[in-house]
Symmetry: C2
Subunit: 267 residues, 2 copies
């Protein structure tokens, strides 16, 4: 792994496809930088399947760790003392499941949490995660208010609508939900992929989601390159990759500080 | 919840069955104190069953969070930079499963980890957790060395042998393992219950395990009262209790700092 020190030339670093990361751990801000390899969509899918099939993880395990890291990154950046009321928007797949787990941990971290989960997956894991949310005091929002009204009730949004399996176009029934995220004017924290983005190429129109923060899970995908993210804050979470996976996919990831479940890649 | 400030009279606090806690979070040591309600064995069993049956948690989920908090507490107190080589001793039940999860996270935290798992549970979850350990580079110790030789290879032990379901006496086949833990001379970190202890009354003989650290999970059991633990460091982990459970069992627990998965109860 090739590491560079941040020496002040952001432009040079961008051109070299190198990230500069401000690591937040145990109250001390550390600056580090390094070269990252970003995953294609098919690599992300293969890696995911290997974790389950070859390394014998259950979805429950990895979703719990992923959702915990999302909640942790959100709370570090938008603390509940200031951003008291959060709305998590959950899609039908694993990304939505990560959102349901994050919602529960955010409730434990002191947020007033609401979840909008319009297309529910009829699988026991998802039904149980949803039930856990309700039992942790999470409010269920059946009908999403208009974008311009969201700021009356919420301070922060979490976008858990689509993950790395997403292929455009957005299906009609979820378009209004995505548009509400885009038009709310609130800071949006996206889980793994900003919803509606091409997993490798990024946003495909001028009316695309522009998240305030992205939490990449396990390893960043190509759409999370700095020249696409620009000033979006970028965290990595999902601290569960086996050493052989890191070697096989030639991953170059930053070190997580101490026992942290997240590491910040850009400030 | 009734809170007292630590004003220097440890004896007075002990008599009043009040703990004084030094909270380690985000690099800042905070001191707090409060009155704790300790669970009986049957309360611990009922609470556990409610989490699965009523709150719809899977064992995978809670074991992952429990094991993560064990690994976190161990690494905070006995960091891998000093205590590089760790041996986790896993029993046949859920306590052993927590140990297998902790072993994996400790490997991710930078320890060289070994696991002794003499009585293996033939259930998919346990087999998978064990397989994950192996794939994360955890060494499997089939035959435990004599107690006096352990310090040649290890700096720290984790006791995940028996949990809150334990009822004495220790069965013959696991007596040598427990005796090795007792006689090693190494610091031992016990998961939820120091193995061999009565869950409510504590150690029942002069040749009992005296752990350097105890990580209580979800809520401390009666054997974790300060007058029994004495100078054993005491952490609470397993940050997953629903509010209704806290009310129903009249639990008085310290606040977890920020997004931490552990809170230190005694220094």
């Amino acid at each position: 792994m090739l590491f560079f020190r941040l020496i002040g030339s952001a432009l040079l670093l961008r051109v070299a496809n190198v990230w500069s990361g401000e690591v937040m751990a145990t109250g001390i801000k550390q600056c580090s930088s390094g070269r990252i390899r970003y995953l294609t969509q098919s690599e992300a899918a293969n890696l995911d399947q290997e974790l389950f099939n070859e390394y014998k993880f259950s979805v429950d395990q990895l979703m719990e760790l992923a959702g915990l890291s999302v909640a942790t990154a959100v709370a570090r950046t938008y603390p509940p003392s200031t951003y008291q009321s959060a709305l998590i928007i959950c899609g039908p797949g694993n990304n939505g499941g990560d959102g349901l787990v994050a919602a529960r941990h955010m409730a434990l971290f002191g947020y007033t949490v609401a979840v909008h989960y319009p297309k529910r997956t009829p699988k026991p894991l998802y039904e149980n995660l949803f039930e856990q949310c309700k039992r942790f005091g999470v409010n269920i929002v059946e009908k999403l208010p208009p974008a311009q009204d969201l700021a009356n009730n919420y301070k922060i949004l979490v976008d858990a609508l689509f993950g790395f399996s997403f292929k455009p176009p957005v299906r009609d029934e979820l378009k209004p939900v995505l548009n509400t995220l885009i038009d709310s004017g609130l800071p949006v924290c996206s889980v793994d992929i900003p919803s509606g983005w091409h997993v490798e190429k990024g946003p495909d129109s001028s009316h695309a989601l522009k998240p305030a923060m992205l939490i990449s899970l396990s390893a960043p995908k190509l759409c999370a390159r700095p020249e696409i993210l620009n000033d979006t804050k970028h965290f990595l979470g999902g601290r569960f990759l086996p050493p052989e996976i890191i070697t096989k996919y030639n991953l170059t990831l930053p070190n997580y500080p101490a026992q942290d479940q997240v590491v910040q890649l850009s400030c």
